[in-house]
C-alpha cells in the first residue's frame, strides 16, 4: 500500500453484510459513502483498497480485556495486547482493573490510559475497580476515576465477585452520579470454594471440584433485583449458563437496566474438553455443557445477551504447564473472537453481519459509554472500521499471535473469517491482514 496523505478509498465492500459500496476515509472520518465517494474532492491521491467480497463493519469494541499492565508484563503489556486487539479487528478495548497495582485510583487508570494512547493501536478504556484492591470491603474512589483523564465509566472487580450485597447496592447507586455501570463477575464465593470446573457429569468423573451454575445464577438474580431497586445500570460479565440467560431475559422483560456479555469460548467449547486435564481449558467461569452453549447462542441472537466480550486473559506458559489445580484460569481471545463468533453465530444462521456489528461494537460502545466507537458506517462518522474476509479459512496457531499469551483453547481448530484491515481513527492499524503502524495524534509527538 503506497504512502499517502491519510485518505483511503475502500472499494466495493459489503457494508454490514449488505450491498457493496465504496467508503472514503479522510482526516479520521468517513468522508463519503457510496457513489459520493468517487466524486469527493479528497479522493484524489487516496490509497485504494479493493474490498470486493469483504465485509465492512464498525471496529470491534471489547468490553472485557486483560492487558496485565501494570504488574504482569511477563504475561502481556498494553503494547502487545493492543497489537493483538488491532489484528483481531478491534478499535477499542476495556482494560480490566485486576492489574498490580489494582486500577482503583485515578493514577492507575490514567497510567493505563496513557499507555494505550502511546501504543496507538486501539482506544484503551480503563475499567476502574469497584472496591479498593478488589478486596470487596470498601468502595474505591469511583468518582475520581470517572473525573480523571481516563474518564472511566465501567467499574468492575472482575475476577472477584462483589459478593457483599450492601456494597453492591452502594456501588450501583453511586455510579449513577456519572452515568457509570457496574460490571459484575457473578460468582458466589462460598459455593465455589476451590472450584476447578463446571459441576456436572464430567466433574463427577474427573474428581475436580465443581463450580455450580447456581453460584452464577444466584448472584445475577440478586443483582438484577438490586439494580431495579436502586434504578441503576448493571452489566453482567461473561454469562455462562442457560439459567443465567433465563434470569436476564426475565429482568429485561421487567424493564430492569441490565446488559450482559458472553465470551467466544463459552459460545463454542464445553466441559468435555476438561477430560484431557489440559489447563488451556481452565477458565473462570468454567466451560459449561452443550445445553448451556446452545442457550447462550440463542440469548445472544435474541438480544438477551447484548455483547460479546473476549475476557482475553493471557498467561505465561509456566502458569499453564502444570497440574490442572495449579494452573491459572483464563484464555486468550482477541485474535480469535471474530472467527469464533462468525463460526458459532453467523455460519449457523443465528445472526447476520449487522447483528454481529451490534454485539461486537454498537452495543459494547454504548455499555462503556465510548464516544466515537460503535457508530454507523456513514459519512461524517469516525472512521473506526474493520474489513473482514468471511470466506477465508485459517488454522489457529497461538505461536503466531501478537499477544504474549499462548493459551488459546482454539489452537489447531480451523475457523472462518479473517481480518484484512482495521482502521482506527481513519488510520490503518492493520493492512493486508498484517500489523501496519499505530495511530499517532496529529499534534502531539509523544504520549500525553
Amino acid at each position: 500500500m503506497a504512502e499517502n496523505n491519510g485518505t483511503y478509498l475502500i472499494r466495493g465492500a459489503s457494508i454490514l453484510g449488505a450491498g457493496a459500496e465504496d467508503l472514503l476515509i479522510s482526516a479520521g472520518i468517513i468522508a463519503a459513502r457510496g457513489a459520493a465517494a468517487a466524486t469527493h474532492p479528497d479522493v484524489d491521491g487516496a490509497a485504494v483498497i479493493e474490498a470486493a467480497g469483504l465485509v465492512a463493519l464498525p471496529g470491534m469494541v471489547d468490553v472485557h480485556t486483560h492487558l496485565r499492565e501494570p504488574g504482569r508484563e511477563d504475561a502481556e503489556t498494553v503494547e502487545t495486547g493492543t497489537r493483538a486487539a488491532a489484528l483481531g479487528g478491534f478499535t477499542a478495548v476495556h482494560a480490566m482493573a485486576n492489574s498490580n497495582p489494582v486500577a482503583d485510583t485515578a493514577g492507575v487508570v490514567e497510567q493505563v490510559h496513557s499507555l494505550g494512547r502511546a501504543a496507538g493501536w486501539v482506544d484503551v478504556r480503563p475499567v476502574g475497580a469497584v472496591t479498593v484492591g478488589l478486596a470487596g470491603e470498601q468502595l474505591a474512589e469511583l468518582g475520581a476515576m470517572a473525573d480523571s483523564r481516563a474518564q472511566v465509566r465501567m467499574f468492575s472487580d472482575d475476577g472477584i465477585c462483589v459478593h457483599d450485597p450492601v456494597l453492591m447496592r452502594r456501588a450501583l447507586e453511586y455510579v449513577k452520579a456519572f452515568d457509570g455501570v457496574v460490571a459484575q463477575h457473578a460468582q458466589e464465593p462460598r459455593l465455589t470454594a476451590g472450584a476447578q470446573m463446571n459441576e456436572g457429569a464430567v466433574s463427577a468423573v474427573l474428581g475436580l471440584t465443581g463450580w455450580p451454575a447456581v453460584a452464577e445464577e444466584s448472584i445475577i438474580a440478586r443483582d438484577v433485583l438490586l439494580a431495579q431497586h436502586v434504578d441503576s445500570r448493571l452489566h453482567v460479565c461473561h454469562v455462562s449458563t442457560a439459567g443465567s440467560v433465563e434470569i436476564i431475559r426475565w429482568a429485561k422483560e421487567r424493564g430492569i437496566n441490565v446488559t450482559a456479555e458472553v465470551t467466544p469460548h463459552h459460545l463454542l467449547l464445553t466441559d468435555d474438553l476438561v477430560r484431557s486435564y489440559n489447563p488451556v481449558y481452565k477458565v473462570n467461569p468454567p466451560l459449561r455443557t452443550d445445553a448451556d452453549v446452545q442457550a447462550l447462542r440463542a440469548g445472544l441472537a435474541d438480544g438477551t445477551i447484548d455483547v460479546v466480550g473476549t475476557d482475553h486473559a493471557p498467561h505465561p506458559s509456566e502458569h499453564k504447564e502444570c497440574e490442572w489445580a495449579q494452573a491459572a484460569m483464563g484464555m486468550t481471545g482477541l485474535e480469535t473472537a471474530l472467527s469464533v463468533v462468525q463460526h458459532t453465530m453467523i455460519e449457523t444462521g443465528l445472526m447476520t453481519w449487522a447483528d454481529f456489528a451490534r454485539v461486537t461494537s454498537t452495543a459494547a460502545a454504548l455499555i462503556g459509554r465510548v464516544a466515537d466507537q460503535g457508530r454507523p458506517l456513514d459519512a461524517g462518522e469516525p472512521a473506526n472500521i474493520v474489513l473482514v474476509d468471511p470466506a477465508a479459512r485459517w488454522t489457529v496457531d497461538p505461536a503466531k499471535m501478537a499477544t504474549m499469551g499462548r493459551n488459546s483453547p482454539f489452537a489447531g481448530l480451523e475457523l472462518p473469517g479473517k481480518v484484512v484491515a482495521t482502521f482506527y481513527k481513519g488510520h490503518p492499524t492493520v493492512l493486508d491482514g498484517q500489523l501496519n503502524t499505530p495511530y499517532r495524534e496529529p499534534s502531539a509527538a509523544g504520549a500525553s
Binding site: 463427577a204 468423573v205 475436580l208 463454542l268 468435555d272 484431557s276
Partner: protein
Amino acid sequence: MKHLLSTEDLSLANAIRILDTAEEMAAVGDREVKKLPALRGRTVVNLFFEDSTRTRISFEAAAKRLSADVINFAAKGSSVSKGESLKDTAQTLAAMGADAVVIRHWASGAPHRLAATDWIDAAVINAGDGTHEHPTQALLDAFTMRRHWSQLAGSASTGADLKGMRVAIAGDVLHSRVARSNVWLLRTLGAEITLVAPPTLLPIGVEHWPCKVSYDMDDTLAQGVDAVMMLRVQGERMNASFFPSTREYSRRWGFDDNRLRALDSLGLKDTIIMHPGPMNRGLEISSAAADSPRSTVLAQVRNGVSVRMATLYLLLSGDTREPAATAGAARNHSTKESN
C-alpha cells in the same frame, strides 16, 4: 498399554490380563525366595506428592520383587509457589533414566499430565490422584473379589470376571478416588454396584454412572449383597457440614456391629467386608466387622503387591500390544469441539 492412568478407559481384556498376571505374581510371594529377575536394570521411581506410606511401600515391594531399581522421591510440599514444578520434576526424572514413574498426587489429573506431555517418556502409573482415580487399588479390590467369587463358584480365578456379583460401596463417594476406580472397573468386569452414601457425599452427576445409588445402608444389605466396601471418612469432612456428626454418620452409614449381625440374619453367609485402609475404627467400620472372618482387609494389602507387580511387569516388559478381543473398546474421549 503404555500407562495405567485410570480404570475408566481400561478395557475388559486388559483388566483380565492384569488380574491373571497378578495371580502368577502371587505365586512368587508364596515362595521362599520372593523375587523374579524380570525387571533387572529397569528403574522405577515412586514420585509421591502426598504422604501414603502404605501405597508407597506396596509399590516398592512390588518393584523389588521384580528386581527393578527403586527410587523413592517424596515431593510433598512441592508446589509452583514454593518449589519445583511438576514439569521440572518430570524432566529431572527423565534425565536420570526412569523407566516407570509411580505417581501419587493431590491434584486430580496430574498423572494424565505426565503421560500426555513430552516432559517424560516413561510409563506412568497412577498411584492415586486427588479425588479422581486410584486404579491399582481398584485392581487389588477386584482381584480380592474375584478370588472370593471364583471360590464360591468352585472354579479357577484365572480368566474369570465378576459377572453377577453384587457390590455395595459405602461412604464418601464424592471425595473418593477409590470409589471412582472401583465403579468403572467392577462394572467392566460385570459386577452390579450400589453406592451407599449421604446425599451430600455423592457427586452431582452420579446419576450418569453405571451403578445404583442408595441413601439407606440397611435397605441395601436387605436387598442382598456379596461384598460391602467401606470407604474411609477423611477428617477434614467432619466439620464441613457434609453430615451433622460422626455419631450420626456412623449410625446411618457405618458398618457397625448391628449390621454385621444383620448379614447373618439375612442369610448372607458369604458376604465379605472390604476396606482400602487406613480404617477409622468405630466410625465407618466397627472393630468387630474389621476383625471378623468376613473382613478381607489384610488380603487386600497382600494382593496389592501382586497387582502392582503385574502392572509394572506388563508396562515395562515390552509387551504393550492391546489384547485382540477388545483393543479399542476403551471408552473414547474425544477432544473435538462440540456444537
